[in-house]
Structures are given as C-alpha cells and as structure tokens.
Symmetry: D2
Subunit: 137 residues, 4 copies
C-alpha cells in the first residue's frame, strides 16, 4: 500500500509544468504524510555570499508539498485555499527536505502542516488549507 501512495506522489509531482523546472523529488508517502526533496541549483538563490535559497522557492515547495499531502490523502484534486509560511532561518546548503503531515481530513477541506529542513535544521514552517474537490466539481 505504501508503494501505491508513493506512485501517487510521483504522479502529483510530475504533472505540473512548473515542476519540470523546479524538479521536486518524491521520497516517501503514507496515508497522511509525504516527504519531498528539492535539490538546490544556483538559479534558485535569493542571494550569494553566502548562498541562500530564495524565499519564493521555499514558498513554492511548501505549497506543492501541502497540495501533494492533501491530494494523496484524499485521492482528489486539492487546490490551495490558504497558506501560512513562517521563515525561521536562512536556507543554506544544496538540498531542501519538505515533510508534509495531514492534520485534518474533513468533508470539504484538508489541513496540512509542512516543515522545511536544510542541513538538518528546520528553516521554515508552513500550514495550509486545501479544498477537497470531488470529480465533476
């Protein structure tokens, strides 16, 4: 069953055209969690000396991780309604790890928490509400 979740996560990450540039990679998926890895390239920088990841890249990673967790948990499209991001530290290093956890799966909405880790430390927190769209809506 975890394998099917991982296949679903892979499918979610491949679909959006923007991801062909961003290149997020599936790591793991369970009923209510996903892990996604983002290799950092120089063109994702917010600044150099020292190099750090642009906040917009982190925001995009939080958005897509929350979406993926909600979509994998519900089997439905789950467009983002609201997203809250707390930036804790500059994101150094060459890889970001995003961990998404579904906190609630309701009839209409799912709530997902996301943590972004760089070099072993949490550098940003995300929390989102995602609309559960059944087929035909």
């Amino acid at each position: 069953m975890p394998d099917r979740r991982l296949e679903r996560l892979e499918a979610e990450l491949v679909r959006p055209p923007f991801h062909a540039w961003l290149r997020p990679e599936p790591v793991s998926a369970t009923n209510d969690t996903v892990e996604i890895r983002l290799p950092i390239r120089p063109e994702m920088a917010g600044g150099t000396e020292p190099f750090f990841v642009h906040g917009g890249i982190i925001a995009a990673l939080i958005d897509l991780t929350g979406y993926a967790a909600a979509a994998c948990a519900t089997g439905c499209p789950t467009p983002t309604l609201t997203l809250q991001i707390d930036y804790l530290k500059p994101a150094f290093g060459s890889m970001l790890l995003a961990c998404g956890v579904v906190r609630q799966k309701g009839k209409r909405n799912a709530r997902v928490d996301v943590e972004i880790i760089a070099e072993g430390r949490i550098i940003a927190l995300g929390r989102g509400t995602f609309a559960i769209m059944e087929d035909g809506q």
Copy 2:
C-alpha cells in the same frame, strides 16, 4: 523622488539570482507602494486545459513584492518573517500584476499587503511581516 524609488525597486528586482529565471518587472514605486509585473511563460503553469499559473509562482511573487515594498520603504534589507497567502481564483492569462502596500513601518518590522491581479481580477491576497535589518545586523 518617485524616480529614485523606481530605481531602488529595479535594483531589488535585479539582485536575486532566482529573479533571472522568474523575471519580475518593475512598474511603479512610491514611498509605501510598489507595482510589479510578471509575464507568464508556459513553464510557470500549474496545469493546462485550461492553462493556469502554479500557486508556487504566485507565492513567490507575493514574497518578492512584499520584500520589495518593505525594502523600498525602509532602505534596509527586510527578510520575510511570516507570509499569509489567500488564493481566491485560478490565475489565467499571460501576465500577473502584483500591488504591494506597506501597512505599517515600525522600528523592527514592516507589514505589507499584496494583491495579485490577473485579467483584471484579484486572484490572490498576501500579507507579510518583514524584519527591518539595519546595516551591520
């Protein structure tokens, strides 16, 4: 004086390496507002049929617009502390317009509201808190 503000906005938009890919364009700047335009390219899509802009692109645009408004208003680096995004509608069309308004300029923090407009309609709302970093901090 508006011209100097616009020069400052241009400088803010040119600096981050990520912007060489994203390509946000300065439109206007006053003491407490900025307008930024983002031409949409196919690789920024969240989906096709119909084509719509990826939520992560919108989040990145809100982040950089809030930063630019805060930085232009204070003359300091203003890293994002928190960001709240409300997605109202799918973003269709080939251009996004981002309007940032400084709601508060305090000693330590600035608060900025951002509206994202596509095809003449507000499609997302953003609100952020930005830390005002004086030189040497």
Copy 3:
C-alpha cells in the same frame, strides 16, 4: 435594504451567549461590509499603566466581525475556518471600531478582511476564511 442588513447584523451580534459579556454593538451593514463597535471595560485589559486592551479581546472581535460580514453577505451560517491576525500597535482608549469587508464570496467559502481602529488609528489587521453552510449541512 441597508436596514434589513443592519437588522441581520443585530441578530448575529445578539445570538451568541458570549456576546452578552463582550457586548459588541452594530454600527452599519451593507451587502459586503459591516461595522461593529466594542466599548472597552476595565475587565478587558491586557495591562494597566498604561491601560491597553487584551490581545484576546481583539482576536475575538476580529473573529466575530469576520463571521458577521460573511453571514450577512451570504445569509448562511459561516463558521470560521482560518483566521490571521496582525497586531500593529497597543490598543489604547475606551472604544474599538471593527470594519469588516467581504473580499470574496464563493460557493463554499467567503474571505473577509477586518481592520480594528482605536483612537483613530488602525491597531490590528485580520483576515479570515469562513465556510458557507447551507441549510441542512
């Protein structure tokens, strides 16, 4: 028609038992705005010397104002899904004014902005998502 809106707002403010203690007062209502006044009493203080209003009172006022604006605009119960509050300044004085504006009225959700004014200055900003519950849900 505004009178009917105001009657609806009055009804919303009278109903919850907590409001018998808090005592918010209707000021005005239109299709997509409400204004509510909150006389401040000593037992609402966060601190004294100088006296300022407790942040929890401000949060409660933002919640009920957003609810009232959404409920008046839709004619439905509209429980709060998410609420974002930005505290800008300490709230001095003996009266708070809350202004709610519906930013979006969708099929499932309404988005409302709230500004809290004390002594003529905006001291807090609120933004919320409210679920539109039709009868029988």
Copy 4:
C-alpha cells in the same frame, strides 16, 4: 527548575485583568512548553443546542498561551506580532486544554505553536510570532 517555570507561568496568567474573567489555569511549564487549562462556563458559548465554545474564546486562549510560552522561554515581555488560527472542529465539553510549544527562540522574535484540545481531540491549531522585548524597550 520546572517549579520556577510553573511559578512564572502562574504569574503570567494572573497579571492581565482580562484573565480575572477568563480564568485560565496553569498546568505545566518547561523550558519551551506550557500547558494551560480553561474551564468553560455557559457565558463562553458561541451557541447552544448543542453547546459549543465561541471562536473568540479559543482565539483568546491561543493568544495567551503563545504569549505565556514565549515569555516563559525568554524571561521577557513578548507581545504578539502575528497569530494564525485554524479551527478544525466545534469545541464541545466543559474544559479546553492549550498546549504551547516554542518552535524558535531568536534574538528578536519567538515562534510558538499552540494546540487546543477538547474532549481528547485537537479542535484548533494556532501559530504565532512574538516580539522579544528586553527591559527598557
């Protein structure tokens, strides 16, 4: 040492005049967590049939719990800058438990997560940024 933390928490909860009406009770405190209990009284209701706690009471409890966690962790006044609240379920029952966890303790700001539990289930999530004010500021 935990006892001193608990004394500090007790002092924080006694000080604001509004708490004489709200009556939050200290349960536990460590270096970066606090637990606070709120006995629910009929005048805190948002509605009856069935009885549920008003969202404004929950918002106030999240605000004061975040403040208390930040103040206990830093030993400083920590006014709330931003607060994000996600309401998950109606709050039934006669007691709320609020659990605050400091997620970051920086130079200027602390970030705190709060969970609100009623009848053994999480009914609301909170996240806030609190300004660390040293003496004399």
